[in-house]
């Protein structure tokens, strides 16, 4: 290196080293801060089946797009600048094209990095969970028998069922998601007849509650 050949006394050597180390730290921390902001996963960004938890996914995925090219339905795409997920990472938007849950999971199998688990059985996939978010617009809540979400669900009879209930003094059939069976494929969201889907796939940590007591305000 050029620097090693230059005549240098101890003082300049220390100063130069400190300067370089300072610059590296400044650059490193700035980039880290940028990454920290950019990687906040958007609720609308769903990962392909078999994806590791988001934190592990972002260090493993090299953004090669092999999963995208392996998908026979054009479900997946790599995020461009200005889209919700971290730039270059694969995601899908179920309202446009849901995951059709191929038996052989070609996307996960194509992954060279392990960011997607190639051995996953598609029924165990955990892309998210369907949540009936729009009670006010859902036709079943209005007393009709739309139930399209129940009828299109590929995990028929298990992931979404109709449960009798009462709403505004009327007997209705409520589409009810069973998170243990739902893979988050998004077929229900795709086919929901309301203008903006009343049932939507959310990442599990956003879409589900948790058992146990609220820890807020309690001592550990």
């Amino acid at each position: 290196m050029a620097s090693s050949k230059r005549k240098m006394n101890r003082r300049t050597a220390i100063t130069e080293t400190a300067r370089a180390a300072g610059a590296v730290c400044l650059g490193g921390f700035s980039l880290a801060a940028l990454v920290h902001m950019a990687r906040q996963a958007d609720a609308r960004a769903l990962r392909p089946p078999g994806a590791q938890p988001e934190a592990d996914f972002l260090s493993a995925c090299v953004r090669c797009g092999l999963c995208v090219q392996a998908c026979p339905y054009g479900t997946l795409s790599l995020a461009e600048w200005g889209q919700e997920p971290a730039v270059g990472t694969p995601f899908f938007t179920p309202r446009e094209v849901p995951c059709y849950m191929c038996r052989d999971v070609p996307c996960a199998r194509a992954c060279p990095t392990g960011a997607l688990d190639g051995d996953i059985a598609i029924r165990d996939a955990n892309m998210g969970v369907a949540v009936l978010v729009g009670h006010e617009d859902c036709l079943n809540y209005k007393g009709m028998n739309c139930s399209i979400c129940v009828r299109v669900c590929p995990i028929r009879g298990d992931a979404i069922t109709l449960e009798p209930g009462e709403y505004n003094g009327r007997r209705i059939m409520i589409p009810t998601v069973h998170s243990r069976h739902c893979t988050g494929c998004g077929t229900c969201e795709k086919h929901c007849v309301t203008g903006h889907a009343s049932i939507r796939v959310l990442p599990r940590d956003l879409g589900l509650g948790g058992s146990g007591r609220n820890r807020a305000g309690r001592k550990a």
Partner: protein, 291 residues
């Protein structure tokens, strides 16, 4: 309209001595190589011809051979990933390949951003822009270290959130969105701010491949340096002019041994008296240490 106007000033002497085609030989080969590599990856998504799958980050060639970018893999390792076998195999294959042909051959012969920065440099010459904010070419090593630090701090592949190289190859293979703004920024930086700013001073991808290139087999050598007329054409055209000095003006080996050399052959194209040749370490004797 005189098409000769398009010829870069630094190639003038080469063109006079050898004609337009010979003075663009390596340049043409590089552009063909860059466009073919990109085209190979575009054939799949655009035309359904799947010779290569994936993109420059990782790919599968002919359905069999895995390739992967070792720099991205190393960032992932700093980020705490435990990568699967295909990506590791692919990164080793790529690292070995560049160890043979020259690390920064990636920059000169594959990277699409090179076309952008070469264009900026050409336009600089044509418009007579001379503003040159001096940058330290070792900055890129600092940036390289910073990207690894950021990867470790955030547990991600940090540079991939910004990397214009990845953005641009994805632009053609899948899509880029607002990422064009970053490519434009690189172009303007090279055009208005500093000569060869991006590839020659800042890009950590180039810095990484430069480290691999220190030991590479294929090298340019100033085999015929006694004929040198000191016209300066090679220094003007070279994206890393400092690499030429020891081989051309030194008393030791005529080999250009710096890892920063892209083996782009620009000096071979531009030289009117055929000083340079593409060769290997083994065919040209290296001088002893300090010789």
């Amino acid at each position: 309209m005189n098409a000769r106007w398009l010829i870069a000033d630094s190639r003038r002497l080469g063109v006079q001595a050898h004609g337009v085609l010979r003075a663009h030989k390596w340049w043409l080969l590089r552009r063909i190589c860059q466009i073919s590599v990109l085209g190979l990856f575009m054939l799949g998504p655009m035309a359904g011809i799947w010779i290569a799958r994936g993109n420059f980050a990782a790919s599968q060639i002919g359905g069999v051979v895995p390739l992967a970018d070792p720099y991205i893999l190393i960032q992932g390792l700093f980020g705490g990933a435990s990568p699967a076998i295909p990506v590791v195999t692919g990164a080793i294959i790529i690292a070995l390949a560049y160890l043979i042909v020259g690390g920064r051959v990636y920059c000169g012969w594959v990277c699409p951003v090179n076309i952008v920065t070469d264009a900026a440099f050409w336009l600089r010459e044509k418009t007579g822009l001379t503003r040159d904010r001096k940058l330290d070419r070792r900055s890129r090593l600092g940036i390289l270290a910073a990207t690894l630090l950021a990867s470790a701090l955030t547990g991600t592949v940090a540079w991939e959130f910004v990397n214009p190289v990845s953005l641009m190859q994805r632009a053609f293979i899948s899509g880029i969105g607002f990422g064009w703004a970053i490519i434009l920024a690189v172009f303007l930086l090279d055009l208005f701010v500093s000569r060869r700013a991006w590839c020659g001073h800042l890009c950590p991808v180039g810095a990484f491949y430069g480290l691999i290139g220190r030991g590479s087999l294929v090298r340019v050598a100033a085999v015929n340096r006694d004929a040198c007329t000191d016209c300066g054409a090679c220094f003007t055209i070279c994206p890393e002019p400092h690499v030429i000095v020891p081989g051309l003006k030194g008393t030791g080996s005529p080999l250009i041994l710096s890892g920063d050399c892209q083996n782009c052959g620009g000096c071979i194209d531009a030289c009117p008296v055929d000083v340079f040749r593409m060769t290997t370490r083994l065919t040209v004797p290296q001088a002893r240490e300090g010789g």
